[in-house]
Amino acid sequence: MIKRITSSKGIVTAVWVLGLVVIWEICAFIVGATQRTPVNVLPHLYQIIGSFFDTKSITGSGDTIATLVFSSAAETLSRALIGFIIGMVLGYILALLMHLSHIVEKIAFPYLMIIQMIPILGMAPIVLSITGDISSARIIIAAILTFYPVSTNTLAGFKSVGRERHELMRSYGASKFQLYTKMLIPSAMSYFFTGLKISAPMAITASILVDTLQGGNGLGCMLSQSLKGSMTRFVFWDIVIFSAVIGVLSYYLMGVIERAITPSKRKAKKKAQ
């Protein structure tokens, strides 16, 4: 029964992907029939994929599209990762402090909301002008975007622990430390990972966006150069597809890590299959 559902889940995904490809291609044919330079508007998928494996050099230094994408990605994504980790740690610590003290929660929560509501497009230039350094700006923006989902979800996780669980710990005469380490922190783990799943793709998007503000070697920088026509338009398309794949993978990676550190989930799954 369960096995049928999990295998049909694979079919569902396959149908989705296939549907997207079909829609893309139909649109590409329509665009191709009307535009003189359809590559600028919507190329066919095979053209995009083909360009990625093209061995022709597109820059003075002899980079192909693939090596250019990979080196830019290393530049941008490494900063996104650092920012993600910083945001995760700080977000978790703030969630703990907000749960330990109502005063901290009352003071911090409105600021959290405000930070979340400022568009990154507005925040990024400010951060960049303060730091004056594109790499630090990427890290800070990725950290800020990670911070909020991790913090609020983890706090919600702590708050979701029911009355009877608190009573159980109280009946054992548990100290505050034991209450957190043995009950609240493990209980909130799935909420914490929900926060990570939301913020991982966001951190990547944000650091690419920061790239576009200044010249350099990042993904976003190549993206805007390609759009402005200083290199082939396929760099743009390849980076878009590549970033989308990395974003989706980052989401799934969080799920994999979650299952790796919570054996109960792994085992329940094993039993189901």
Partner: protein, 260 residues
């Protein structure tokens, strides 16, 4: 021993409890309740929802402090007995930690009591045997049925080797068949371990089947309206549920409620 049998194991004197509701109005949950429970007795607190039976259990276990009145457990305040781990609580939901295996769930209180490792292991095996879950020690709660989960809850309460077992509607979420099976299991555990049991329920037949005495609580305000002695012979078995004596007791208990 003889002097101990005279003093009640749990003594509740003139206990009242007033909560305030969401609008800040006072709500009387319990009014002047007095009960003495002897060592080794099986006592039910029976009543409809809102009669304060769970509140009374929480007062005895120091999860709530009464507005007025006096409670002593094993001759001490509830707070002292709680910190000495003299009682084990079984909640309405099993309250198992889903990231821990059955064994590790039972180990939780032992870790906090700093019981030595070898003794932890032997106690865990002992209580697993007692509730009949020997083969499921390494399973996760999510893999067990509701009845089995509640057995784990009982095992965890027994693992701390308490003098008193407090059970807060432990079987109300289970189906009738599982409930009756667990009724028998709890009675057999009670016989083997000689614990004092305070059993909260809203099921009249269950309270008659299990108890030595039934404290009938009526709602609005929660008060003790009768104490019914159950003189059915022990050990009890499922056949007794059909006898006229059993039916007469159920009828007697039902008639002792006030104001419903």
């Amino acid at each position: 021993m003889s002097e101990k049998t005279n003093a009640p194991e749990i003594s509740v004197k003139n206990v009242s409890m007033v909560f305030s509701d969401s609008k800040g109005n006072p709500v009387q949950a319990l009014k002047n309740v007095s009960i003495d429970i002897q060592k080794g007795e099986f006592i039910s607190l029976l009543g409809p929802s809102g009669c304060g039976k769970s509140t009374l259990l929480r007062i005895v276990s120091d999860l709530l402090t009464p507005t007025s009145g006096e409670v002593t457990v094993c001759g001490k305040t509830p707070r002292e007995t709680r910190l000495e781990q003299k009682f084990g609580i079984v909640f309405q939901n099993p309250v198992l930690l889903d990231w821990r295996t059955v064994r590790k769930n039972i180990r939780l209180p032992l870790e906090m009591m700093k019981v030595p490792k070898e003794e932890q292991a032997s106690r865990i095996e002992q209580v697993l045997e007692l509730v009949g879950l020997k083969e499921f020690g390494n399973s996760y709660p999510g893999q067990l049925s509701g009845g089995m989960q509640q057995r784990v809850g009982i095992a965890r309460a027994l693992a701390i080797q308490p003098d008193i077992l407090l059970m807060d509607e432990p079987f109300s979420a289970l189906d009738e068949f599982t409930r009756e099976k667990l009724n028998d299991d709890v009675l057999s555990i009670w016989r083997k371990t000689n614990k004092t049991v305070l059993f909260v329920t809203h099921n009249i037949a269950e309270s008659v089947y299990m108890s030595d005495r039934i404290c009938v609580l009526s709602p609005h305000p929660g008060r003790l309206s009768a104490i019914v002695d159950v003189d059915l012979p022990r050990p009890r078995n499922a056949d007794m549920r059909g006898t006229p004596e059993f039916a007469a007791l159920v009828e007697k208990v039902r008639n002792s409620f006030e104001g419903i």
